[in-house]
Symmetry: C2
Subunit: 339 residues, 2 copies
DNA sequence: GGTTCTGCTGAGAGCGCTCTCGACCGTACC
DNA sequence: GGTACGGTCGAGAGCGCTCTCAGCAGAACC
């Protein structure tokens, strides 16, 4: 084994050809005869040559990498670890990148110095970037420097985005609760910093108004389970007659269910609980959560495909349907999971 | 705004200095006077210059990126999306990379062509790679080509690894169940392809033997909730007198709890359930799962730190403690979550 | 045989940066 | 005044690859 990794030069020398020919062969570009092709290929396996992606990227001017960037408000340990959302983001991207010979780079941008970090990522973007939970102003900043960006959350008008009808989903969720006979439908809202949370709040408010119900919304803060637990408990104390809860995300909803059953009431007999997202937390909860499905994987997969296809028109929008998934937590499940 | 991104050459011309000086300034290397430093910095902001990471990497020979590589046995949508484990892996790495100006690249390697993919990643590794769930043979192959690799699962002897006492954790879990008065302690095992699953299985077997209990282990297959649900149901039919279940991972344990309560029995009054991992699924479950905590974030953070520090001695081992986390699913919780 | 055309092939110029090395200056010392 | 030396600075040689372009065969045509 030689001292350091073989380069294209070594392969060329071993095969008795020029670098250009080796390049043609390893990139499957026409312009090399079958004979030389074979010689080069043999030299490649003999030397155990693997192209240096960095050099390739610099020379060709195009590196094949998709960046996913998210703003972290909490320390990083809580970032991807606490919320199943980001797993789904990555899974969707991964599914289209698989076999496409494109790398996936993950960036967590802290609140402090976010602008500089965004600039650096934009400057080095290649295939493009998938923006998740980036505040509209920052997303616009990114897009100004790099057109190859797609947000998977509602964002500034100029930035291409994958959209989902959060307000409509929330409306449908409340409506479903109403259809099940619930009349005291409370809500646990998400953080104001999130556009999704805001839209879900709006949908809830519109639904209760339209249905002539009381607005029993409570601020739950960040999308974490603990907040769901605590807020549900507070809600139960303040409004003991609540018979349903619409919760802005599954993780909080799982916490809410725990608070409800720990307090001696039953889900769904006494209180129906409806989540949002259809994440891992929805199926791990007991009873499993009825929820509004947000097709995160499909959205990020579509975003990635868009980037892979080339230039993305500014302001490009793509709509994704939300879908009511009925499990046990609301009662009368569409598909009972145990006979 | 000019046609394309400004280069170091443009900055040098604007500041009236050489490329070398600009390089010194932007890298904070001594050897440039305060006067020129200021001129360069001004030119940088005026032009909106951001260094090209690719060129920098090629020239310096060291790109700053950590690769995390995992083998995906199922289609990618199920890969990161279904299992909370990978979120924790990333969270741990992210926590030490934050601010370190090091990129994170994620690789999912399919079973087919895994060897070639591994080779390509090893050849392009820079800071190094964190290997998760890579079979020992593949991990060794990676390590042969690139010494800067750390596995966070049990692996070949040559490959540096972060280790956790899976067998001991399983033993302690069964022992705890015994201490709570349980005598018919069943187990739901994980897939044989996973070294973790194997060790946990061993720990269970040793414990029941030592305690004089019957071995009521059942193969659960892959680490997914559905398997936990189905296997628990089967277990309940075959051994109706079971009073505790030790489940090889939280996700399966969440499924097991659902099967138990859906079948009309109570957790923990009738049946205690103990999970493994202490993942998101543990706290989302209802009742929350008692489990054996695997400090995944700490392990991947340590692996990353090791890589960042430089050369990793072959066969390097670092032990991490498992820890029993008692919640409601086993009864007599150490810390009641609701007064 | 001369010309054009086509298909291979290699020389060589970058891609944008880092980093060594030598030039040069001013100061200190003998 | 001559030498030594530390501190600045720029020229230029790469890093490993891609890709254009010119050269040069051999085939096809007049």
């Amino acid at each position: 084994m030689s001292r350091s990794k073989p380069t294209i030069e070594d392969v060329a020398r071993a095969a008795g050809v020029s670098r250009a020919t080796v390049s043609r062969v390893i990139n499957n570009v026409p312009g090399a005869s079958g004979q030389l092709r074979a010689r080069v290929r043999q030299a490649v396996v003999e030397l155990g040559y693997t192209p240096n992606q960095t050099a390739r990227a610099l020379a060709s001017g195009r590196q094949r990498a998709v960046d996913v960037v998210a703003v972290t408000y909490s320390p990083a340990t809580g970032w991807l670890g606490a919320h199943p959302y980001y797993s789904r983001v990555l899974a969707g991207i991964m599914s289209v990148l698989e076999g496409a010979d494109v790398q996936l780079r993950v960036h967590a941008v802290g609140e402090a110095g976010a602008a500089e970090a965004i600039d650096a990522i934009a400057a080095n973007a290649t295939v493009g970037a998938v923006l998740t939970n980036i505040p509209p102003a920052l997303a616009a900043r990114f897009h100004r420097q790099c057109r190859r960006a797609v947000s998977v959350t509602a964002t500034a008008a100029s930035v291409p985005a994958m959209e989902v009808d959060n307000a409509g989903g929330a409306y449908a969720a409340v409506e479903q609760l109403y259809r099940l006979g619930r009349r005291r439908i409370a809500a646990i809202h998400g953080p104001d910093a999130s556009t999704c949370a805001l839209d879900r709040r709006t949908g809830y408010a519109r639904a209760v108004r339209q249905l002539g119900l009381a607005d029993l919304g409570a601020d739950g803060g960040d999308f974490v389970r603990e907040n769901g637990y605590v807020t549900a408990r507070r809600l139960l104390e303040r409004h003991p007659d609540v018979d349903a809860m619409f919760v802005a995300c599954d993780l909080m909803a799982a916490g809410a269910i725990q608070a409800i059953t720990a307090g001696g009431r039953r889900v769904p007999q006494d209180i129906s609980v409806m989540g949002f997202d259809d994440s891992l937390a929805a199926v791990c909860s007991n009873p499993p959560l009825s929820t509004v499905r947000v097709p995160v994987e499909e959205m990020t997969a579509a975003a990635t495909r868009l980037l892979l296809d080339g230039e993305v028109p500014a302001g490009h929008r793509q709509q994704f349907p939300v879908e009511l998934v009925l499990r046990e937590s609301t009662g009368q499940p569409a598909v009972p999971s145990f006979p």
